[in-house]
């Protein structure tokens, strides 16, 4: 699965945190990862619940109209699930000593897992994720410094380009992008079972033809056909895997379009409620006024602000 999928870029990075020494702050002495946690815990979330609406402090990610979703996770250590399972009889035969501890994986330092889904600057995805990361630095440099300040290599970061270099260096492939804007299945053609079977049939037929023409021994014929079938299976495997690696088609759902759609949905619900039972003769004029007021084609204005759950507040109804 590619990083660029469905017209969106799904960025994933694991950034090592230098958790050595102590940080003195506000009369306290804390470990560096403690500081990272504190920075993340105090980073405001978007105003998308009644509770956060009351708080009123907006997420810095809402300063960008390209961010769909951002998530940070601290990976302290991989979970240790105990000894590897072994069949009791096999263990006895092999003489496994259960008192001898098995090695288990540990991380040398904590890691910060960064996952951001964003709109590419160019629809083809060219120049990403660099362009977005540089843009992010422009809109939330202070917050990024607080979050990444204790990461290896961050003290050497200067400016937007440096930040992009730093984070791209830690990027890993996104193996499971989440295409939330495809509410139904996208228009993808499935690989036909007929084609896959035809490849095998051709392989077998070629083997049969060569056997017939070359008057091969029966054992040689079986070997040849088996060999060709294996080649056929490999071709099928390649067909399936290359089809799977194809990116999802773009849904066209850039954040400005999503926000405009949410805005229009709310505005139109109000319009529909207000027009109920009104004289149908006036509907055309009213709808033209609605279009003038709400400019459905204009993504810039009026629209829903990023990072909020609604445009129309109670009292304004609908």
């Amino acid at each position: 699965m590619p990083d660029f999928d469905g017209g969106h870029y799904f960025f994933t990075a694991v950034v090592p945190v230098c958790n050595r020494g102590i940080v003195e702050h506000e009369g306290m002495k804390s470990s560096p990862i403690h500081m990272v946690r504190e920075a993340l815990e105090t980073l405001p979330t978007a105003l998308q619940s009644h509770a956060s609406e009351k708080v009123g402090i907006q997420s810095p990610f809402a300063r960008s109209t390209r961010t769909h979703f951002a998530r940070f996770v601290i990976l302290d250590q991989p979970y240790y699930n105990g000894r590897d399972h072994q069949d009791a009889i096999l263990a006895t035969i092999e003489g496994t000593d259960l008192l001898k501890a098995q090695p288990h994986d540990r991380l040398a330092c904590p890691y910060l897992l960064v996952m951001i889904d964003f709109d590419p600057a160019d629809r083809s995805g060219a120049g990403e994720p660099r362009a977005y990361l540089e843009h992010l630095w422009e809109v939330m440099e202070e917050e990024l410094k607080a979050v990444f300040g204790y990461c290896y290599g961050f003290p050497q970061v200067h400016g937007a380009t440096g930040f992009a270099d730093f984070l791209i260096g830690c990027q890993i492939e996104t193996t499971m992008p989440f295409n939330d804007y495809w509410t139904g299945p996208p228009p993808l053609k499935s690989l036909s079972k007929g084609l896959l079977l035809a490849v095998l049939a051709v392989a077998a037929a070629v083997g049969g033809f060569v056997t017939w023409k070359g008057h091969l021994h029966w054992w040689l014929a079986i070997l040849l056909i088996l060999l060709l079938l294996i080649v056929g299976i490999l071709i099928d495997y390649w067909l399936i895997m290359s089809r799977g690696a194809k990116p999802f088609p773009a849904s066209g759902a850039t954040l400005p379009r999503v926000l405009k759609a949410l805005y229009l949905q709310q505005a139109f619900a109000r319009f529909a409620a207000d027009r109920q039972g009104a004289d149908p003769a006036g509907t055309g004029a009213a709808f033209r006024a609605f279009l003038r007021e709400n400019q459905p084609r204009d993504l810039a204005e009026p629209t829903q602000k990023p990072g909020v759950i609604r445009t129309f507040f109670p009292g304004a109804a609908a």
Binding site: H50, A269, A272, A273, Q276, G277, P314, G315, A317, A318
Partner: protein, 564 residues
Amino acid sequence: MSAALDLADIQGGILRAYGRQGFPKARYFFLTIRDPAKGRAFVEALRPKITTAARWKNPKRGDPLLRTLKPRVKDVVRAEGVPDYPGEVELMKPKVAINIAFTFMGLAALGVPTRTLRGMPDEFIDGMEKRAPLLGDDLWLDRRDAVWRNSSGETQVHILVSFNAEMNPDGTPTDDLETETRRLRDLCARSEGGVVLLSGNGAGDPDFQQLSAILRDEDGNLTPTNKEHFGLSDGFGDPVFLGQFSGEAERLRVAGGGKILPDQSWAPLATGEFLLGHADEAQEIPGAAMPIEFSRNGTFMAYRKLAEDVGAFDAYIGEQAARYARQFGVSVEEASETVRAKLVGRWSDGVPLTAAPTYAAHEAFNAELAAAQAAKDKAKLAAMALQFTNFNYREDPDGRVCPVSSHLRRGNPRDMLDPHFSDPPADWDGSALVNRRRILRRGLPYGPYLPGADGGGTERGIVFIAICSSLFRQFEFVQQQWVQYGLDFNVGSDTCPIVGNHVAEEGAAPEGKMMIAADPKDSNGRLFLCDRMPQFVEPRGGDYFFVPSMTALRMIETGIVDPT
């Protein structure tokens, strides 16, 4: 082969709703324990009086299918001459059914060991007040009855004792109710402060919650009905689980009450969805407090007192009906009945929209019913009785007949949430996503029935009781996701039009909204949008209770719960 339940070990009121079993009058008492030993002695004294699920004989049973206005499925079973209830008859029906349940703090106050207590689920330990933001109750905490507002420290609710009583023909409860009340008070007095009856159940702060079915006056002869204060008929569709009914009764009841299998046939839900210690719909015996005999045959119960604003409801329906009548060119009477039915999913007499999609169809349905009743045509009545519960939403995916956001579809979406709903029949999953979200609904109305009147500030409502083996997975999920939210039904943040929150905070502008999809028979195909809906129902408090089996009750009272 139906699973045989240990009926004499299960408390009454779980398998069947008392209100429907001839107990239309009730008193619910809340008590606090101030001394563990005296608390256990109180439970010990009460235990012999506890009504179990054992089958009894009712000497006053009427003629099935003809004795009520609307025939019910249980009448169909009785008319076929087969027993509805499982087990053998060994008891006579009591005049007053007495039951007991405990809050988490109540179990702790009775000295139940820590190891047993820590096996209790989080939401039960939290109690209903702490769960308020999840339930949508947080807007109304200050408006709760005193017994709930003050439920902490010395006045924490620990025990619920319920008395469900028979009724005299004049509408008053049987005298035995007062006798049992006196005995309960004596028992508290004898505990010398060890067990205290709490007051504060509504206006005048009485020390019990009084409940009564709404009565119908037929020439001075009062009979209980299944109406609530909004004038709606309630409590038709209740889950049917394995062991709850005898064989033939189960076959009839399960259609509409059980779960829908992928082949579209009906089957009873697993017993473990409603009783602990039994296999559930995940094909496992769910985790429960240890020892298992402490939990088995017990269950959990959410008790909620819900005040109904009859004035606001009637005014809103009136307003919408006037608009509906103008828009669709029908009489105000038809508009009023239709809007009400669309919000609820049933006509006010309980006939589901799926059985009678339009006002005319509803009138025809009732005319047919009346004719069958007059002719004493039991076969016809039986067939019509089944239509009250036996339906699914396969033919109505968009809610054009029964709106997807109606109270009925939200409470039990049946096959509607099947992820393969629109796929070919071979892929259908039936009600698989709903089977673990079912609740047994119990309870009765409170307050005087004053239809069409604002009641002069007299509070009315219902005590809603949900019984299930996981309050979190069943009751709380239904309340949070299906009542207070609408995403599963593709209606965004719209809440239940009847019991959902319609304001962002107390006193805020009404913002409840519901779309009534266009009637396919309407050539103009016009939908009807109900908006600016005010709050109709406000919670007045309640709590989560553990309803122990008789075995667990003995263990609690003797103090010999051994979790090791």
